[in-house]
Symmetry: C2
Subunit: 341 residues, 2 copies
Amino acid sequence: MVIKMQRIGKNVLKLSGMTRVAGSAGVGAKTESEGPLRDDFDFLYPDDGIGQSTWEKAESELQKKAITLAIENAGRTVKEIDCIFAGDLLNQCTGATFGIRDMNIPFIGMYGACSTMVLSLATASVFVDSGAAQTAVASTSSHFCSAEKQFRFPLEYGGQRTPTAQRTATAAGAAVLEYGQPQGIIIDKVMFGKIVDKGITDPNNMGAAMAPAAARTIADFLTDTGTRPMEYDLILTGDLGYVGSQLLYELLQTKENIDISSVHNDCGLLIYDREKQDVHAGGSGCGCCASVLCSHIFKRMRKGELKRILVVATGALLSPVTSMQNESIPGIAHAVEIIYR
Amino acid sequence: MVIKMQRIGKNVLKLSGMTRVAGSAGVGAKTESEGPLRDDFDFLYPDDGIGQSTWEKAESELQKKAITLAIENAGRTVKEIDCIFAGDLLNQCTGATFGIRDMNIPFIGMYGACSTMVLSLATASVFVDSGAAQTAVASTSSHFCSAEKQFRFPLEYGGQRTPTAQRTATAAGAAVLEYGQPQGIIIDKVMFGKIVDKGITDPNNMGAAMAPAAARTIADFLTDTGTRPMEYDLILTGDLGYVGSQLLYELLQTKENIDISSVHNDCGLLIYDREKQDVHAGGSGCGCCASVLCSHIFKRMRKGELKRILVVATGALLSPVTSMQNESIPGIAHAVEIIYR
């Protein structure tokens, strides 16, 4: 007989309280080292080249570094990892696949655009909590130069960016999940989001495309769990940036009568200093949420500064081809509630 | 207390025997309708256009059709599905995301290249078996024209293909998994593969790039479960085609002393008639394995013709960019053992 995982309401899965983050790491590069979280990153490369001959190889190296450090921080070796959940924004997810190809770990490829960190963390949590894995890694990465080249223009073109645009973080994050101890950073609940498409078509305004999905996931999560925003020390979105965060407040306030503004922050706003750094509406990319969560936020939790947080990462599920074909941008938001005890 | 999922050996997960395929569907288009499995497909479009204005929209429509029919065949409605695991080969997996965006189902995006059907089936099985979902869908798709455009040349270019090349199936498949009944098509065991990269660099010979991963997964699976090839009615690979299947036999025979040739077949060899159809080394693409498994194979199981099968889908984890950067092609193979009783 298998005792089943507990569902709360329609959308939320309550885990056993025994699945914990045994170790994590966030890595970045130059722009990240100039931002306010510089002291919390586990490793910072001096430039975006990461010692590699191409931007894509640089991104793979970033992800490899984050995974390696996270496993070290967990006091584990690569051989002890049962499986790895990873993905990224590069075509065919090669940031992840080339980053981990030599590690000899069963690999479960994920795609959630910028929601990938929470998607992989939530999926890995279900595996660890159910015993499908004893120890699992969740990871993702992004790179400013590989993303610009693939999604917008080659850097050499020198294209100007709109004020609503965000800067893709050159960063990666990884977390090692383990079953068996009820103390520490615990993945308490997970929720997989539905696709929400409100007809936004501007690929330079991802925040607006993703905010409705974040609003829906947050509203559903609070309803299903019967909790109010004030009960969380932090409601953290992935990379809505300034524009998307404002929209999120407005959507939640007007449509759901929920005010999260006093407990909300966004990884895209935390990672850079918008006053001093040329990042327009803030940071973005899979690596933004991944590196901020796996370095800064988990460090704050370990210090006891944050005891209950709701992390909601959003993804814009478009491709350059769908934009050129005049399609709107589907958004998605996955959530994990994480507690420290 | 949660009773954990059972691991067999290092790699294999034994499920409860209560997670079954409640319904499935495979759909195709013109070339598939001219092949030997025409009578088993659940739906065949008269041409590759699928009534859409672009190849990408056509692929999304294919996947939507397969999912819709699978849910119907399971006697369920879309509202009863707890989550969907899906992906495809298009950049940023837009075949899946645009296909399901209106369905309002929690979406877990997967990337496994041509291994996606078994990857999503195995992951969905873990969710259903553990109670993380009661009812889940696994699906994927591919399209000859969107794949040629994205991975090789626009069709208008009229490029010639090498004899080792395979034809991407214009097809999709979906399966509905449900917990609770021990009769029918049961997902009995799952195994997630490791990345294997033997240095193959020819993107027109995917079979050779993927065969080592298939060999490794099959050898590990047989070792962990203590079974011999003869104990399976069929060992079915995803889309190695003719070249890859021959290589698989050779690798297993010479390196592992395992002979699977009498019980092996390959979806890429089943879907088309290589004598009569211009498909070179056979079929390929996520939709090849998905449509063959979810129509032809599951129909044979329901008739009692196949009672125990091992399905091993392989993926080539490259992108056009990595090939242009002279990278070799990492392969992966995931496995599910399916029984009928």
